[in-house]
Amino acid sequence: MHAFLQQLINGLSIGAVYALIALGYTMVYGVLRLINFAHGDVYMVGAVIAYHLSQGLANSGAPVALSMCVMFLAAMAGCAALGFAIEYFCYRPLRTRPRLVSLITAIGVSLLLENLFQQSRFLFGPTPRSLPQAFQSRTVIEFFANSSTPITITNLDLVSWSLCLAVMVGLRWFVLRTRMGLALRAVSYRVDTAALMGINTNRVISMTFVLGSSLAGVAGVVDAMRYQVDPLMGLQQGINAFVAAVLGGIGSIPGALLGGLLMGLVQTLLKGWILQGAYSGYADAAAFLVLILVLLARPTGLLGKPAIEKV
């Protein structure tokens, strides 16, 4: 039972990060119908920014909480700028073209970022590196501390949950209550009609990328503290988050949260609780199997609107 509860906590924590990344996929898909393959690498850039800052901050003697805030803000700003640049230079010129073209360009951008950060010693280099000890996860709450299998909650669990919750509430307010959010909904409903209604669609699309990328940056910082920083970390995590977005219904913001948490739970519970030992390696396959089954039963995901086909 303790093992189950522990995996539940881990799953929700990992799932919260998936949800943060999945939001970027889902928002971009919502307005452009584009699978932004470079999104996973924007997340990686967030982690790299955190790594570089952490080197300086650890030596400066600033309080850890303050340093972490600085890291989060810097990663958000850096990733937002990167997301804006990617959209402006790579996707905007191709917007009237078949979407497959943008997709391949997105893959090109993804390859570029991965290889650039692997190759350039100045930017990062090929070997994965950890953040200084001060920024790594540590246990803050412990239940059943006397038993052989205590249940622990780390500071990163708390950070990722609160971030996820704050982002969710913030986004909901933004999308439903602000003029920009209204424009966002209009654009995702139909781009050309939205433009006819006087909405500056270019600005809305740019803003979507800025917002999604900054959330990826946040997720990158959390994972940089939890695991290691690796130029290729965006690959697997990007696929996982993307699957989460699809699972919840791509294009739907609450869907990204639901899909992310579900994906995190399914993966961790399968790995650490159901398929123990030799079979735990199959957990990744099981997640994709769930995805395919969900798609077959409900192609638009759990919370997605069923697409009406017009002839």
Binding site: L100, G108, L111, L235, F242, G281, Y282, D284
Partner: protein
């Protein structure tokens, strides 16, 4: 060529009688053998290896073009089919490790068997296409490819057959050569070309252009979509078998998502639906990383940049919707696969 310009509609290749074409194909097949022998003897191993890899890439790109470009079913799981073929062929060949002439015969048999295993998986993947379109299908095929990689990572043995698990399978007899690589490339190109550019192949394009309209005209869209997956998967499996016996070492990681993406890039860069475009792109994208060796570690950075710039400058792909010898667009402005039709 001149006569083509006079005709505004359906442009065909220069009107060569079909028996002559068949004879030509046969002659090339026969000529491959001495050519292969000569290359084995006189050519530098590095260039020969590159040539063989280009042949395999052509098979992969053209077979994916049937699914992605011609039938418009966006698949991101081609490396999964390739893995099935590679492992079928590699595991069996290593287990029996025959010698001499027996080796070549068994190799041919196992490559076909690998193709058939992949084709069977193609039926399995074809079934979701009945319900899923566009991006959703792409995701389902991506999931399929991932599942194959994960499962192959876990399996160490099947009975007395060594599969290798995450360490990969090593010391497979290296029987792939120039002849087999281009033998399969030629068979693949001819099959797909014959399928696409015959009366029997019109429904493939019809499914791509508008599935609902095609169904309304009496096209059995289910059949043609699954057919595209089965034929495409067969050749991907065969290409997998060839690549397994080229280096002698395979691992699940060599057939991951990135490999699928590479093949999709060949199709899109060459121009979706253009067979000669796929061949051209397969050659360029296989040779480019080698040409960029002077850039050393930076070559993948340059490669990515070249890809992005090509797509920005020429979004319809190198050849667009045309074949190399066509002077005119065939189906009006290139619209790409039906995935673009968003209401």
């Amino acid at each position: 060529m001149e006569s083509d310009r006079a005709k505004p509609t359906m442009v065909h290749a220069a009107r060569i009688p079909s028996w002559l074409v068949n004879l030509g194909i046969l002659l090339i097949l026969v000529a491959l053998w001495p050519l292969s022998r000569a290359f084995d003897k006189y050519m530098d191993g590095y260039y020969l290896d590159l040539l063989i890899r280009i042949g395999i890439a052509i098979t992969l790109a053209v077979s994916l073009n049937l699914i992605n470009g011609i039938t418009g079913q966006f698949s991101l799981g081609h490396a999964g089919f390739m893995a099935l073929g590679a492992y079928t062929c590699g595991v069996l060949l290593k287990h029996y490790s025959p010698q001499g002439i027996e080796l070549r015969l068994l190799f041919l048999f196992f490559v076909i068997l690998g193709g058939l295993v992949a084709a069977a998986a193609g039926v399995l993947i074809g079934i979701p296409t009945l319900r899923l379109r566009g991006d959703y299908l792409a995701i389902a095929t991506l999931g399929f490819g991932q599942i194959i990689t994960v499962v192959l990572n876990q399996i160490e043995n099947v009975g007395s057959f060594e599969v290798g698990g995450s360490a990969g399978l090593h010391n497979i007899p290296m029987v792939s050569d120039f002849f087999w690589s281009y033998f399969w490339a030629l068979i693949c190109v001819v099959t797909v070309a014959r399928l696409a550019y015959s009366a029997k192949g019109k429904p493939f394009f019809a499914v791509r252009e508008d599935e609902i309209a095609a169904a309304a005209m009496g096209v059995d869209t289910t059949f043609y979509k699954i057919a595209a997956f089965v034929v495409g998967a067969f050749f991907a499996g065969a290409a997998g078998g060839l690549s397994a016996t080229l280096s002698g070492d395979i691992s699940p990681e060599s057939f991951n998502f990135i490999r699928s993406i590479e093949i999709v890039m060949m199709v899109v860069l060459g121009g979706s639906g253009s067979l000669t475009g796929s061949i051209l792109a397969a050659i360029v994208l296989t040779a480019l990383p080698e040409l960029l060796r002077i850039a050393e570690g930076w070559r993948m950075v340059v490669y990515a940049l070249v890809l992005i710039i090509t797509m920005l400058v020429r979004p319809e792909g190198l050849l667009g919707n045309r074949e190399l010898w066509w002077t005119r667009r065939r189906l009006g402005p290139s619209t790409g696969p039906s995935t673009n039709a968003v209401a």
